[in-house]
Every structure is written in C-alpha cells, then in structure tokens.
Amino acid sequence: MSMINLNGIYIIWLREMKTFIRAKSRVVGMLMMPILLLGFLGSGFGGAMLPGIPEGVGYLQYLVPGMVGLTMIFTSMFAGMSVLWDRQFGFLKEIMVTPVSRVSIVIGRILGGTTTAVIQGIGILVISLFLGFNVSSAPGFIISIAFMALISVAFIGMGLAIASKLKDMQGFGLIMNFLIFPLLFLSGAIFPVNNLPAVVSYIAYLNPLTYGIDGMRASLIGVSSMPIAIDILALFAFCVIMVFAGAYLFEKSESV
C-alpha cells in the first residue's frame, strides 16, 4: 500500500466539504465574531490615529487583513482539532482501521480544513468590501488567498498536534483562551505589535500569524512592516514544522 493514497485523500477532503456545507450554524457562528469586530472596531476607531499605523491608512484598512487572519486561526485550529470530535464519536477508529496510510489521512484533513478556512476568509474579505474596504490590486487579492492557505495549513498542523495529545474535548476551551487569543493579540491583527513592550514584541516574531497578517496587508493594502518575501519564507517554514509535528504526533497517538 503506497504512502500517498489519492482516493483516500479525496474522500476525506469530500467529507470535510459535505459536513462544512451542512453545518450552517457553525459557519455563521465562526463568521460572526470577525464581522462584529470589523463593524464595531472599524467604525469605533475609524477616526482615531493609532501609533504605528502608517500615515494615510485608515483603521478599517488596517483591521480587515487582521480579521481575515482571525478567521483563519479560528477555523484552522478548529479543523485541526476536529480529530477530537472524531475520536469522541468513534469515527476516528473507522478511519484508522482502513488500509489508508496515516500520511494520507493527515493530508486529506489539511486539504479539507484549508479549503473551508479559505472559503470563510474570502467571505470576510467580500463582506468587508461592503463596509468600505479597498483592495489595492487584483493580483494582491490572489496573493492574499495564498497567504490564507499558508496560515491555514500551519494552524491545522498545530491543531492536529494538540489534538493528538489531548484525550477528550475538555481541554479545547483552554486551548481557545490560552493559545488562540494570545496568538491573535501578538500578531498585529488589531493593533501594531511595535506598540507592545519590547520583550513582548519579540514573541510576536515567533508567531506564524504575525507573518501571515503582515503578508496579507502587503498584498491587500500595499502596506506592511516586513518585506513580503520574509513573510512568505517565515510562514512557509512554520507550515513545514507544524505539518510535520502534527503528522508525527497524530501517527503516534492511539486511536482506541
């Protein structure tokens, strides 16, 4: 049996698609927070000048890539950790007992999760256009989708790694509060990280989301704090590390 089983990858991806389309309330719930934040923060801070935001860039322009990043980290961590749901409902055993290799299972999950996350990210972008967001160029829009995909792959890998170490869903809320929110605040999604104390801002440079959001700013509004090549390289490196960590821990974890 080969390591890469395309049929297996496809059907795992298809399952993610079908359940995504059927879970309308979940999707609405996931999109609600970034939309609310966009609406309130965007208009509330609309006129304010935040230090660190370049001259001539409105707060909404600054915020939208951050909210897309927020959507990415939430949906991707959720997708990675959905392995916990499968374990809870026994379906993981059904997957594990088939002759499809673990690597193919991980690839299928990552592709499925990335597809649904990117769809939701684009959804947020489209909604923000109605709120007055300006995309600087069409190619930029395409590049931002590539960034969304990279962020998504990295955090699905992280979610998978964490889920492989947890036995049940009880730790899930803990992860949400102690990992996702700090990662979010330390990424420049809502305010520039240079405004944070120096020590803390160094931590931001270890955060893959920082590079993802900076890269999306570069591609969507043409303003960023780092060169876009650095963003791509750093994010890609995180992707590779996270996917290997996720695949390794998933392989090691017991399904029964």
Binding site: A23, F91, E94, P99, S255
Partner: protein, 337 residues
C-alpha cells in the same frame, strides 16, 4: 515477515497486552476456522475488546503473535486491514453524513472502483434492509438502524474476516433478535468468518459455532456451546435453604452417584445432577432426614452462565455488578470539584 499460515482464518499464539503494568490480555492462544462463527464470551473488562483491537491492528501486542487471514498483525498491517471488517462496540458513524455516504466513504477508503462500489453498496444495504433509508442523515437513525448500517459497512469491501464487538449492546430485545438473524444470514450467505465478542450468554449460545470463555485476560474454556454445557454433567438444581448451609446434608448428597458437583453460591446451593427430575424427591428426603428445610427449588438445563460459574467461581452478573459499582465510583471521583 511472519510465517504465512492460510489454513485458519485466525491463529493466535500467546498473545499478551499490558497497559502500564496491568495485563489486559494474558497469553491467549486459539485458532478460528474459515467460515466459522466464533465467540469471545466474558464480562466487561475481561480483555475481549483489547483482543479484537490487536487483531484489527489498532493496538500493538506486548508479546505473542497473531495471524489474520494468513497475515501477521505485526508486520503485514495493511494486508490485515484489507482483509477484515470491524464493527466497533461504540457507534463509529459520521452522523452528519447519510447512510449511503458513510458506506461510500468506507468503500473509497478501501480503494473500490466506482461501478463495483455502487453495486456492492446496494447489495449490503439490501442485506440489512436499509435500502429505503439510505439517503437519510445518520443522526435520524435509531440505534438498531445504526448497528445494521455498521454491519453493512463492515461487509462492503468483502472482508474475509468480520469482527463484531458486542453487536447487540444497548439494543432492545426485539432489535437484538433481528441483529442475530442478520449475523447468521451473512455468515452463511457471504461465507465470511465472524468473530464476535459478547457478554450476553444467550447471544453466544444462539449464534456461535464455538465459544471461548474469557476471564481476567485468559481463555478458561473453549468449545461449542453444546459441549461446554454437556461437560457440566447434567441439569442444574438450585436450592434455597432456610437455615443456611449444612455440611451433613451436602456430605450425604455427595455419596449419591447421580450428583456430579456441588457449589455454594450466594446463599443458594447449586447441584449438578444427572436426570434431575428423577432425583428431586430423593433430595427432599435427604434434606428432611438432615433437618434441612428447602424454601425454593429450581431445575434447569445448564446455560453458559453455569459454564462460566463452573470455570471462574463467579457468575457473570456478579462480575458485572462489581464492575458497574467500580465505574460509578470512578465517575463520582472524576466529577468531584
């Protein structure tokens, strides 16, 4: 690479599994013939599911060897996975998919081609009489329908060996009967070897060609249900005594050649008696002469429960009860603030 052994559907030798020093399965050995309906009977926690999980390559044995459909579960995992179907104890369906989609997912994972897939899915759906419900979401299914769908799924890819872990657990009596009929039918019609675990005596008795009685990770007896019961040497007579046990009474009973065994259990006296209906009057006469008063008498053909009692000194119900208490106790501890 292990030695190929195609003569048996399953061949297990000194299979052992330890979890953090606890021995769940303790050096068991058995073979299952091709086409056989084989049962592992024992209380919860006896090691049945652990055995199945090792045979299905979901757990790695601590020591010993096992061959399934001629393949080594340690070195030929993919071949084993391709040759088996598994129906797990707990439901393992995706509720958000329809019945047909669950089967579709499974058959693609097993690399079946499109045409073959479509035909085969219809076939197994018909076999478990779910054809008209196939396009409903599984969350709308009843417990019995879910079980049937899982059995169908276990068969889709035409496995040589089908594992059924507690196939009728949590189902009502009528549904259980139905499931039994399906299991028998597919054993005959699909010619698939079936290994099932159960803690229901009647299930093992009704379904299995041979039964291995498992207790504390060991096989304590293995034969056809009939032979196991016959080996007890006759009928079971249970006596409830008013004044407690009496050594004199038992000593005199033991002098009779028709008495095969005598056991004290939980306030009653269990006798194994050949042709019990002929000897009841005599038992009463002896009791009277020894001043023992019998308050209740029960004669029955031996069941597998009696076989279990004979080999382990306990009934399965005792075992279950203490098990339930233990798990309740654990649940209490876990929920303490």
């Amino acid at each position: 690479m292990g030695v190929q052994d195609n003569a048996y559907a399953i061949k297990v030798e000194n299979l052992t599994k330890k979890f953090n020093g606890n021995t769940a399965v303790d050096s068991i050995s058995f073979v299952v013939e091709k086409g056989e309906l084989f049962g592992l009977l024992g209380p919860n926690g006896a090691g049945k599911t652990t055995t199945i999980n090792m045979l299905a390559t979901l757990l790695v044995p601590t020591s010993g060897s096992a061959f399934v459909a001629g393949y080594d579960v340690l070195t030929q995992r993919d071949e084993v996975r391709n040759s088996i179907g598994v129906v797990f104890q707990e439901t393992a369906l995706d509720n958000r998919l329809t019945g047909r989609e669950n089967l579709e997912f499974h058959s693609v994972m097993y690399g079946m081609k499109k045409e073959e897939r479509r035909k085969r899915i219809e076939e197994v759906l018909a076999l478990v009489e779910l054809s008209d419900k196939a396009d409903l979401l599984v969350e709308k299914y009843s417990g019995g329908m879910k079980r049937r769908l899982e059995i169908a799924r276990g068969l889709v890819h035409r496995p040589d060996v089908l594992f059924l872990d507690e196939p009728s657990l949590g189902l009502d009596t009528q549904t259980r009967r139905h499931i039994w009929d399906y299991v028998r039918k597919l054993n005959k019609e699909e010619k698939v070897t079936i290994i099932l675990t159960t803690h229901y005596m009647e299930e093992a008795d009704y379904l299995c060609d041979r039964v291995a009685i498992v207790d504390h990770g060991k096989i304590v007896a293995l034969d056809s249900p009939k032979n196991l019961k016959d080996a007890l040497g006759g009928d079971v007579v249970s006596l409830e005594l008013d004044g407690g046990y009496s050594d004199d009474f038992e000593a005199e009973l033991k002098t009779r050649e028709w008495l095969k065994r005598i056991d004290r259990h939980d306030g009653t006296l269990n006798l194994k008696v050949r042709n019990a209906d002929r000897h009841i009057p005599e038992i009463f006469t002896i009791a009277e002469s020894r001043g023992v008063s019998i308050s209740c008498v029960n004669i029955r053909k031996p069941s597998l429960e009696d076989v279990f009692l004979r080999y382990t000194g306990r009934t399965m119900r005792d075992q279950e009860a203490s098990q339930t208490e233990r798990s309740r106790e654990m649940a209490r501890r876990r929920h303490k603030p």
